[in-house]
Subunit: 155 residues, 4 copies
């Protein structure tokens, strides 16, 4: 992982798509809209499976998405040769999500040798100009980092 | 909800089972082992659907279980006439869960008029005497509370 | 507090300065640099009292500043007639603060009737152009809100 | 630090007292009441300096105490040859502390090679039998761990 002194993108949209597809073993329903040094944006159309009675998106769906997108922003900078294990996830549920696209923005607050901290903001995007100003949830996710050696173990 | 000055159990194992069954719309795979003033214990046999490559239980599965069991400990004390909405969930992943029973203990740290705070500890129970001494995860879950009126709205 | 549907600033820099001065009973050492709908920025020159051996700023100093500035951003929008009590503070220590100005940015993620959630980012400002891009700490602070009646009790 | 497979106390009450006295450079006002494998208990008489108008203990005082006692429980197990830096502190303020002794209990949830996680419960002890059943605050504190080499650097 080096010292991260000169940040660069080591996995782009196509590489992340391929990696997550292989990790999940099934086609992904989200779209990675942006990967750059400012972070990553993922759009998830909301299907019926995620909806709770009343037409909202369940808390576990939001938590799972926050963890997944935060993981991808770490991957975009350290690549698949490193192991990132979630050590802490803190989420604040701010507003009731609506049954429209869920947009998740993640950006790295810190990328150290052994720890990465990611800030996540999630929005219900109904197409209104103000939709991306009022987050439905905010999360902070911390990962323990380790290099994988050539046998797949950790150093 | 009253002032909670004299704590009592208003929903027992059978009442919680019935409520959660109706909320989820399908048979539950967990067993509520204990409901009392010290809190609640739930045992979840680990099936293949929750397993990640390598035979561990996924983070989203742990988060979803933490939220569900914390919700039940609130319900056990305030009953179904109140509305509890998760406002914050903080989880620390401590050890790699193993593909054995997942045991979740939840207890109320605070039950106020508008806020409830629940402490959750989760264990991989392989039957060893020390299994319930080394948690795989610890979570704190906060709920905003509101009374439902007779029309199902909130006061 | 109303419904906060039309956000406006009800306490500006001068009003916040006066309020905090009266609350603390002594001259403040920080400067409020900005109060607007995007949030608030406070600059704290670092004096010897806050320094730990090695010339860094102590964790408690950061936590205390995060809580204080988050409180002011809530006050700027709801005014002194409301009571805001900290219910949760989560802080990630990201980099070692240096003995230079500590700059704290706070913005409201949510301002509801009974709950406010504030995002806080803290920086060591040595005057370099990139100083405000690498936070030394990130915090999320939640407040329980209540209106004060004319006798100073809460409704 | 070894593998922590056989937990033992490497700093007892006297060793912790001496270490903290040297770290703070002034006599400590708290009393370490217990150090064992279950954790540590510290009692802090509440003096006027910690009190806010209304006779309660300030949030920063609670946060500072939570961090300090959590740090000591880590020290009790890894000793002064290791460096523990707070990476995350999450605190829930549960009840208004009263101007009586503040009792803080800390116990290790995890002591790994690079990360320690500590659970903290704080009580207002007025001598009543139930005082230690209703915490005024709960905190979780995470430390990054590193061994110090003989020159005081980290490995």
């Amino acid at each position: 992982m080096g010292t991260h002194d000169e940040p660069s993108i080591v996995m782009d949209v196509a590489a992340l798509d391929q990696f997550m597809f292989e990790a999940f073993g099934r086609p992904l329903t989200w779209t990675i809209e942006r990967v750059d040094l400012d972070g990553i944006r993922v759009r998830q159309p909301t299907g019926d499976g995620d909806l709770r009675p009343g037409g909202t998106i369940s808390g576990p769906t939001l938590m799972s998405m926050a963890d997944g997108v935060a993981y991808m922003v770490v991957l975009s900078r350290i690549g698949p040769a490193a192991l990132a294990v979630t050590s802490n996830l803190t989420i604040n549920f701010l507003r009731r999500p609506r049954p429209v696209d869920l947009v998740t923005d993640a950006r790295l607050l810190k990328l150290g040798r052994s720890l990465a901290v990611v800030d996540v903001l999630m929005y219900s995007d109904d197409g209104e100009p103000t939709a991306l100003q009022q987050p439905v949830a905010q999360a902070t996710v911390t990962y323990s980092l380790a290099l994988l050696d050539s046998q797949g173990g950790t150093t």
